[in-house]
């Protein structure tokens, strides 16, 4: 470890590793630190990603692909099933990854591009000078070091402190956090071709339960709940109820805990000498809880802007606005739409959800996208989903959408 780098990236999840790789491949001097002793472990993820999205950034490698699915099946509270093709299933369906290997592979790519990686190395604070972040205080093997740099990238995930240390309020309001519990269960009967989602207050009040297959007899079975449960109930209790009924003979070989930022975008993600990416910037999708793809996408944008800033010798918040503008225009826009849909869905009761599922009967859901699905739902349930009308205003590329129709409702 040197005492100065161009860039220090804190956190070796997907966001941090992709940022570090992007910057290192342009020849800058990068340090990527990770407080855990093993990158990617323990996993905090259901490991679903959209195949096509991921392929835009990475060459798929069988080493980190645990399963490939064709689509998803959503079960309404009354048990009615709606089947959708992969395309329509959004950011979370296509591959089920092996995150322990995936995260490591990404960190290795960063290292190969020239970044120095240090594990068991924790950021304990920021160095701040004249209103600029100028480095990171780190601890390695019980010893403290001050390391200088031009830009710090906070990619420190859900438990991020980097933003707060720089005066950015990243606190998630209780309703904005999705509290999760998951088991990896083996020796069970699962359809290896579909990711399953279960809705309904008796299974997952203010959330959903998922079954993501990892091969023939194995699956990530998990649940995510937004906001508070009654005082005597825990998220783990809900998962146990489901698993006992559905997979009484299954064997649990891993327990996964986690929180997903499902709060929507925060006010700011840059400061003088500082950029936040991934879960640290609260860039997960509020509806699905998917954050892998957004982290990678934002990481690449952050890396490119950081390189430019250092070449121009201007790391001011003003210059770094370019990152802010770019991610908000693409990722942020999707997040805003998802948040509106999520908030509406959270207020539906079981009967409403059953009605929505019924309205999709006889519809071909193989080819349209997620927004197309919401549009289809909206068209036949205008009263129930009236609050969603704003999201269709400036969208022009949904298949099969009659936009005159939209104009007539606005």
């Amino acid at each position: 470890m040197k005492d100065r780098y161009d860039i220090i990236v804190v956190g070796a999840g997907p966001a941090g590793s992709v940022t570090a790789k992007t910057v290192a491949s342009k020849g800058l001097d990068v340090l990527l630190i990770e407080k855990r002793q093993q990158i990617g472990d323990p996993v905090r993820c259901a490991e679903g990603v959209n195949k096509k999205y991921i392929a835009n950034f990475l060459q798929p490698d069988p080493a980190w692909i645990s399963a490939e699915v064709k689509g998803s099946r959503i079960y309404a509270p009354n048990g009615k099933m709606v089947e959708m093709g992969e395309e329509l299933s959004g950011v979370e369906v296509g591959y089920v990854l092996e995150r322990k290997i995936f995260d490591r592979a990404l960190a290795m790519e960063a290292a190969r591009a020239g970044a120095q990686v240090m594990v068991k190395t924790r950021a304990t604070g920021l160095l701040i000078n004249n209103g600029y972040v100028t480095g990171v205080k780190v601890q390695y093997m019980g010893k403290n070091y001050d390391i200088q740099c031009d830009i710090v990238i906070g990619a420190d995930g859900i438990e991020s402190k980097i933003g707060r240390w720089a005066g950015i309020d990243t606190t998630i309001k209780p309703g904005g956090l999705c509290s999760c519990m998951q088991y990896l269960i083996t020796d069970i009967d699962v359809d290896p071709d579909f990711c399953e989602f279960y809705l309904g207050t008796h299974i997952a009040p203010s959330g959903y339960l998922w079954v993501f297959p990892k091969g023939k007899n194995k699956a990530n079975v998990g649940i995510g709940i937004s906001g508070f449960l009654p005082k005597n109930k825990r998220v783990i209790d809900l998962l146990d109820d489901f698993v006992k009924k559905k997979y009484p003979k299954g064997k649990i070989i891993e327990i996964i805990y986690g929180g997903v930022p499902a709060c929507g975008t925060i006010e700011r993600t840059v400061s003088n000498g500082l950029i936040l990416v991934g879960d640290a910037a609260r860039q997960s999708d509020p509806l699905s809880g998917g954050g892998i793809f957004n982290s990678i996408w934002a990481g690449e944008i952050a890396g490119k802007v950081a390189v430019k800033a250092i070449k121009r010798r201007d790391v001011s918040a003003e210059f770094l606005q370019e990152y802010e503008r770019k991610w908000r225009a693409e990722i942020g826009k999707n997040i805003d739409t998802s948040l509106i849909v999520k908030n509406r869905f959270l207020s539906l009761n079981d009967d409403d959800m059953n009605t929505l599922a019924d309205s999709l009967e006889n519809m071909d859901l193989k080819t349209t996208n997620l927004l197309g699905l919401v549009w289809a739902l909206f068209k036949s349930n205008k009263k129930l989903l009236w609050d969603l009308r704003s999201i269709f205003k400036d969208i022009k590329d949904i298949n099969d959408v009659d936009f005159d129709d939209i104009n007539s409702i606005n």
Binding site: G157, I158, S160, I172, P174, L177, R234, G258
Partner: protein, 57 residues
């Protein structure tokens, strides 16, 4: 410190850190620490998926 953490239940996922309005919680290696800025609001204890945090009364 007014919050008690049951280290034997905790899975060090960091969810509690993200909701703490005063920034009193930190995830260090595999354990949660709570500093004296904790105002005993109890939000962390309500969102913990297993109930590993308890507000002392």
């Amino acid at each position: 410190m007014v919050i008690k953490v049951n280290r034997y239940k905790c899975g060090y996922c960091g969810a509690c850190v993200s909701v703490c309005p005063t920034g009193a919680i930190e995830l260090i290696e595999t354990w949660i620490v709570v500093d004296d800025t904790c105002n005993n609001c109890g939000i962390c204890s309500r969102i913990c998926p297993v109930g590993a945090l308890e507000v002392s009364t």
